[in-house]
């Protein structure tokens, strides 16, 4: 059974205008998005800035008010309770943030940062709490001494690992990772990604991995959703998306990744130019009125493409 089932999710932000501050229209940040996440699976959500990928992640966490659609978790419809405190759902779904510097409270010791979710949800004695925090630090590859320090005493990669330790403190089933490595250097990025994979196996976690970096997503995710203009343009397995992309937007996105083989330089540039031309000529084939993305249509058993 699916762990998380999102059906026709919509998040619209009102635009206030005029002297009375009435709602004059809506920004449709997420406009009808459906997907499922199975236990232990990693689903990638890819798109450019403004495509609505972060908003989708936040809506699942209850950080944005949902305008329409339903979210089922473990078979239970939790759409109404999503923002309510102390519910079981809040324990089971956690988040890893992009900006490690603003995600950790600079006035708290690492111990208190990691223990905070435990104190909110579980009644532990001091000794038990100590043991749990040390255990969590061990999982992310840090020594217990780290818990007496403050977050600014650590490097970027270590800070992100503290963020991971806090996210897994309550043994969640799903973690929403919003661009967890895009602020990190290449070597540190590799480290955090490796830890995320290890932890996933150890704790049987599912990830919703939000990112704009197709290289990282390919490394991490089995299933991918490509998002553009608040809707999915393509949804499928890793092989479907990378080896057989169908939507013009996906193809442009893949062609835009800088290749590490200097010999392919010319070929890639021509390829990109051709795709841009095709995008302009066949725009109406892939986008409806006002740039609206069509509904997803099955292309194969696992592969869905937005086509008219």
């Amino acid at each position: 059974m699916a762990l998380l089932e999102v059906k026709d999710l919509k998040v619209h932000f009102p635009i206030k205008g005029g002297i009375l501050g009435r709602t004059v229209g809506y920004v449709k940040a997420v406009d009808g998005v459906s997907f499922t996440i199975n236990p232990g699976e990693t689903v990638g959500l890819v798109g450019e800035s403004g495509s609505g990928k972060s908003t989708t992640g936040k809506a699942i966490l209850g950080l944005e008010r949902i305008t329409g659609g339903t979210i089922h978790f473990d078979g239970e419809n939790i759409t109404k309770y999503i923002g309510k405190n102390r519910s079981n759902y809040r324990k089971s779904v956690q988040m890893i943030f992009q900006d490690v510097n603003s995600a950790l409270n600079p006035r708290k010791r690492v111990y208190d940062i990691i223990a905070e979710p435990l104190r909110n949800f579980e009644k532990l004695t001091r000794g038990e709490e100590r043991k749990r925090v040390d255990e969590l630090l061990r999982i992310v590859g840090m020594t217990p001494e780290a818990s007496y320090k403050y977050s600014f005493e650590f490097s970027g990669g270590q800070k992100q690992r503290i963020g991971v330790a806090r996210a897994i403190a309550l043994k969640p089933k799903l973690i929403v990772a919003d661009e967890p490595v895009s602020a990190l250097d290449l070597s540190v990025q590799a480290q955090v990604l490796n830890y995320m994979k290890d932890i996933q196996q150890e704790l049987k976690l599912a990830y919703l991995f939000v990112s704009h970096d197709l290289g990282v997503v390919r490394h991490m995710c089995e299933t991918l959703a490509i998002m553009h203009n608040a809707r999915f343009v393509e949804y499928g397995s890793r092989d479907d998306i990378y080896n057989d992309p169908q939507h013009i937007y996906t193809r442009r996105l893949i062609a835009a990744i800088p290749d590490t083989d200097p010999d392919l330089r010319e070929r890639n540039a021509t390829n990109r130019a051709l795709l841009t031309k095709e995008y302009e000529q066949e725009y109406t084939k892939f986008y409806g009125e006002g740039g609206k993305v069509y509904d997803l249509k099955p292309y194969s058993d696992t592969h869905y493409v937005a086509m008219p």
Binding site: L186, S187, D213, T260, D261, P262, A273
Partner: protein, 332 residues
Amino acid sequence: MSDVLLEVRDLRTSFRIQGEYHAAVDGVSLDVYKNEVFALVGESGCGKSAMALSITKLHNLNYTRMEGSVFFGGKDLLALNENQINKVRGRHIGMIFQDPLSALNPLMRIGAQIEEALFYHTDLDAVGRKARAIELLEGVGMVNPALTYRQLPHQLSGGMRQRAMIAIALSCKPDLVIADEPTTALDVTIQAQILDLLRDLQKETQASVILITHDLGVVAEMADRVAVMYAGQIVELATVDELFKNPQHPYTRSLLASIPNVNEEHNRLHVIQGIVPPLQRMPRTGCRFSHRTPWVPDNIHEEEPIYHEITPGHYVLCTCYKEFTFDGEDAS
């Protein structure tokens, strides 16, 4: 290709931290030829941006010390006074920065910002300046140059702003353009557009470009020659083909191994142990990368590392490249 445009000799840029000067760029020498794209790569804290700002002397001299020499057009830029270097900046050396929103003046229209450089460095009149500004905006791929000319930076998207920056950098037909992480703040599709644009413009104007980036993919797409920086030093210098096909220095090889590749799947990525040391604690003797590869024996490093030319034009610092392997890393 063989004419030298910029000659950096033993450049040492030090920042004052708690009363003491620590070198962020530590004895770098390199040549940039005419009509080439020269890339500087490395992690944050390697000194690549400090190096770029040293070339145009843009550091705050209250807490920065620059030693060595930067020869450009027969003059040592570091020896020039503020007035003299202002005639070089913008006119002969153009700069493109990472974040166009903070590099552009938010209160000036795009057209006026391009004309500013033309006003100081050319003898065009007002009509000529405007014509040139619009021509430049068209050259960087603005759909409606006359409209953009009148717009303010906040009215443009990120990609458009970066195009406006490029227009300003190229306004006086510079001989050298320094692009410091020009696409890091942009989306992949926009990044591809800007890189394609930069390459076309480079071919058209025959200007040299120093491209500073941490993204090896961008290097492979753009550069002719590459210098890999670590801890204020160039550890490897080679042509782009040579560097990607035959990387030698342990640092270069570790960086390449840690890229999540789109074309192949590895289960685990390579991780470089430790971090780039902060300036105060930077090792100043021996092979500076050695403490991040603790599994290799000390005796393969040189005591005073020097550059070794492996093939013509391919230089590697220290002898450790000969025996370096990733084997034995897990045991350490």
